[in-house]
């Protein structure tokens, strides 16, 4: 018997239900786990996503895309195959896709985390037979500190910069991380500004009902923003560009899971790195596998071969899910909007 889900040239495909999950080419029916560029690509005929993620997906897929939604947990049937979406905790509207057919259940996690995040629903463990998991940070060196402790560190850094009259520049991926950070900031310290790419998504979050502190768009070609007390949220690609020139003296830091490694911080010439990721760390990955109750695990996106080998040693049927285009996590992309692109 062939697998319920299999990798085809277009992407992960369910033949029985005739739909794709996060396809990398244009298809008829695409079920989307979340709106990051490596998961949601424009051009497909119909999209299906979790209801809270609709606004965000719209900003990425364009105004003419046909987007159907499901509430979290609400089942639907596609050619006799049962499909439902469950919170992945990755960012607003991110979903795990549960696919059930003839008594067999698969769960595709997309990207996910178990940590608390005030801007999205928490991860919901879903029991299944086959668990398809990401492994961006699937090495035991990756253990995240408590988000509350990281938030306190960020606010203390901002406070110290403000006291010294330096503008704080916080580099973060535009979708998800930037909004999560905004929600963790202490707005009494000073004004918060966002780069245009971040601002568009801040608005999509607000339209979806997520409460965020007041944030101003950085005015074009203006000088001296925020009188040295402000904090600017900008995508990593803004680092070292003249765009930052208008803020006068700045202190720059980046928030990413990769900041855990000293070498990455040094390479990026960042005096400060905050360890905050929207992906599972190693202990939570192991926990998620256990909570799924799955006897078979397919690992993708990251340290796939390492995690698969480890799970096999622990008695599970585990394998690497060979996806095209998505290589190993490499630490140095600045254009992408997710940690997956690497440190």
């Amino acid at each position: 018997m062939s697998d319920l889900l299999a990798v085809t040239p277009n992407g992960l495909y369910c033949a029985a239900g005739d739909f794709y999950i996060d396809p990398w080419r244009r298809v008829q029916r695409a079920v989307i786990t979340h709106a990051h560029a490596d998961h949601a690509r424009p051009g497909s005929d119909r999209y299906l996503c979790a209801a809270p993620g609709k606004h965000v997906l719209r900003t990425r897929m364009g105004s003419t895309a046909v987007i159907d939604t499901l509430r979290y947990g609400e089942p639907t049937t596609m050619s006799g195959v049962e499909v439902s979406l469950h919170p992945a905790g990755h960012l607003l509207g991110a979903a795990q896709v549960r696919v059930s057919h003839r008594g067999e259940t698969w769960v595709v996690t997309g990207d996910y985390k178990l940590q608390a995040d005030p801007t999205c629903e928490p991860f919901e463990p879903v029991r299944c037979d086959v668990f398809v998991t990401e492994s961006t940070f699937g090495l035991p060196v990756y253990r995240w500190p408590e988000p509350a402790a990281v938030a306190a560190e960020i606010n203390a850094w901002w406070q110290a910069n403000a006291a010294a009259g330096r503008t704080s520049v916080l580099l973060a991926y535009a979708l998800g991380k930037a909004q999560r950070l905004a929600a963790l900031l202490e707005p009494t310290i000073g004004p918060i500004y966002a780069h245009g790419a971040v601002m568009k998504l801040v608005e999509a979050y607000r339209a979806s009902g997520v409460r965020l502190p007041p944030i101003d768009r950085v005015p074009p070609r203006s000088r001296r923003v925020g009188g040295g007390k402000g904090l600017v949220i900008a995508p990593p690609s803004a680092a070292g560009t003249s765009w930052l020139g208008r803020f006068g003296e700045t202190a720059t830091a980046m928030a990413s899971g990769w900041m855990l490694l000293r070498g990455v911080r040094r390479r990026r010439a960042l005096a400060k790195g905050f360890i905050l990721s929207d992906h599972v760390d190693y202990p939570d990955l192991m926990r998620a596998v256990e909570l799924s109750g799955a006897s078979r695990v397919l690992v993708t996106h990251g340290f796939s071969d390492v995690v698969a080998r480890l799970l096999r040693e622990r008695g599970l049927a585990a394998d690497v899910l060979q996806t095209r285009f998505v290589g190993e996590a490499t630490p140095d992309d600045t254009d992408s909007d997710d940690d997956e692109a690497g440190p």
Binding site: L139, P140, V141, R143, L260, L261, R262, G263, V264, R266, R267, A269, A271, K272, F303, V306, R309, L310, E313, G327, E328, T330, P331, D332, D333, P343
Partner: protein, 575 residues
């Protein structure tokens, strides 16, 4: 350990010189002198003891973390730093055993105590005992401190700070001149509280009698020299391919100091004997070379000589050494460094009238150096290379490889003997390197700021359809290119052996090097000296890269010059 670890992370976290000096001052002001001495030793990059083999430490950490060893190896390959990898996988807090004895608070665990008990104290102990100490120390230290301690334990604690900066911090702290501190740091081993107090003592100390002067280092000349002004304002000398050193002759005796500020006195007894004939209060700056009266010997032989702790009679006869002086820094006890070079040179020639001149190969070869053997002796001055124009010097420089020298040194006649590497007065004008295009064969993740990126490349050339390795090279690409190459490496990996990846031959790099010699180190049977990547040849197909025959041809050219084949290429100090 808390103070030292704090210092380590502060130095690591900044590129600003002022912040580094501030961190050093805070450290030296906060700790007792015995800790200051220990810290200073580590900061100055003294050779460290490897108390526990890396292999064992990995095994113990894997067990403590509950991980299979292969998984720890994967982590190491990704992180690129063992000390950090171990600290990242170890449990943050260990469950305390009920019978555990009372541990003092971590900050009362001083660096000197830590080094004595958990590093030096491990010498000669059994593996079981070592493991007990290691596990107990993990319990005592916070994760950040563990990283630093792991580095101390495995003999690899290197801090990104120069001696000049350390001297500056200590000078600001003590009110003494930075030069006095720097000189004392060179002359004395600073191990105890007393040593440290002596270092900062306002009174002259015993070390003052042996101390060399901080070396003046030349900067590489990247452009053409014409921009330096009139050729008549400059002095040109050969850039000898040896070891830069100072010979210090004082009333207390003779000491020979390397540029790395290590004493090399014992390795060169014949130089010491010759220098004893000089009047006390004489300091020479120059180059140690291996040479016989009839020819100059290759650097590899000098390096073999310098690495021996005990110099046998046979070694003395096989590889005789000479000292070729460039400069006179002290005479009759008077410091000459402020005088212009032309005046210092005048006095140097009075002291050492014989110029060093040797053909690079035995029995002549029709070279400019002539066919007759050079003069006997150990101490010489370095002769001038005279050119009436930059063009003439350019032509003379073109002879450098044939003469077995690295190029020309250009020094402004009016220059004082400065301290460190200030730009402007002293330049090294090296010969153009040899170049080939080579193909990336193996790659490995780098360390430090390149951790997690595959930046250590082993390059090969074609032997028929097979790639044979010829050199390992680390740098030369921009950060952006490194990232791009890393991606290609990951995408074209065909095999992995632990951290080493074998890649499909797709990437071609232009490899530059100074020389070629036979060697068993690489599969090609050929080793190149100072290999570095010059650029990424995106315009070239792997098949267009060099062949073994191309290298053999370079070797044949080189063999026309040096009859002794280099054995092991060791790091050398260059001026």
């Amino acid at each position: 350990m808390r103070h030292f670890s704090e210092l380590y992370w502060r130095l690591d976290g900044t590129t600003s010189t002022n912040e580094k000096v501030a961190a050093l001052k805070d450290y030296f002001a906060a700790v007792p002198p015995e800790d200051a001495a220990c810290g200073l030793t580590v900061l100055c990059g003294a050779k460290q003891l490897r108390a526990v083999p890396m292999k064992l430490l990995r095994e113990w950490a894997a067990e403590a973390a509950g991980l299979p060893l292969w998984l720890l190896e994967e982590c190491y390959a990704h992180v690129g730093d063992l000390a950090e990898t171990l600290a990242l996988v170890l449990p943050e807090t260990f469950p305390t055993e009920p019978q555990a004895f009372e541990q003092p608070a971590a900050d009362s665990f001083s660096l000197s105590q830590c080094l004595a008990e958990t590093v030096r104290g491990l010498k000669g102990r059994s593996d079981v005992e070592k493991r007990q100490v290691v596990e107990a120390t993990w319990r005592r230290l916070a994760p950040r401190e563990r990283i630093v301690w792991h580095k101390l334990l495995t003999g690899g604690c290197r801090v990104g700070v120069s001696r000049t900066l350390v001297a500056r911090a200590l000078s600001e702290l003590s009110g003494l001149e930075p030069a006095v501190i720097a000189e004392r740091m060179m002359a004395a081993t600073i191990e105890t509280a007393e040593d440290f107090q002596q270092l900062l003592s306002p009174e002259p100390t015993a070390a003052d009698g042996l101390r060399p002067y901080p070396f003046f280092l030349a900067s590489p000349l990247e452009a053409e020299p014409d921009a330096l002004g009139e050729v008549t304002d400059w002095q040109a000398e050969w850039k000898w391919d040896g070891m830069r050193a100072q010979v210090v002759r004082r009333a207390a005796g003779v000491t020979i100091w390397s540029r790395g500020e290590e004493r090399m006195t014992d390795a060169f007894p014949e130089i010491v004997a010759a220098a004893e004939q000089l009047p006390p209060g004489t300091v020479l700056d120059g180059e140690l070379l291996a040479a016989r009266p009839e020819c100059l010997l290759p650097f590899a032989m000098l390096s073999r000589r310098a690495s021996r702790k005990r110099v046998t009679k046979k070694l003395l006869a096989d590889i005789p050494a000479v000292f070729v002086a460039y400069d006179l820094l002290e005479t009759a006890g008077a410091d000459l460094r402020a005088l212009p070079l032309s005046q210092r040179r005048h006095q140097l020639l009075d002291l050492l009238p014989v110029a060093f001149d040797r053909p690079p190969e035995p029995r002549g070869g029709g070279t400019a150096a002539g066919d007759c053997p050079g003069p006997e002796g150990q101490l010489f001055h370095s002769p001038l290379v005279v050119g009436r124009s930059w063009e003439e010097l350019r032509q003379l420089r073109a002879e450098a490889r044939r003469r077995g020298v690295e190029g020309l040194m250009l020094k402004r006649l009016g220059s004082p003997y400065a301290h460190g590497r200030p730009r402007g007065d002293w330049w090294k004008w090296k010969i153009e390197p040899l170049e080939i295009d080579a193909v990336l064969h193996y790659a490995q993740a780098g360390h430090g700021r390149r951790a997690g990126l595959h930046t250590d490349y082993t390059l090969g050339v074609w032997d028929g359809d097979e790639l044979v390795t010829v050199a390992k090279a680390y740098s030369g690409l921009s950060d952006k290119e490194l990232v791009e190459v890393d991606k290609i490496i990951r995408a074209t990996t065909v095999q992995r052996h632990g951290p080493v990846r074998v890649v499909e031959p797709t990437l071609v790099f232009q490899l530059a090097f100074e020389n070629v010699s036979r060697s068993t180190r690489h599969k090609s049977g050929i080793a190149v000296r100072f290999p570095r990547i010059q650029r990424w040849r995106r315009d070239k197909q792997p098949r267009d890269a060099a062949t073994l025959a191309d290298l053999e041809a370079l070797l044949a050219q080189a063999a026309g010059r040096a009859h002794h084949e280099g054995t092991k290429d060791t790091k050398k100090s260059s001026s």
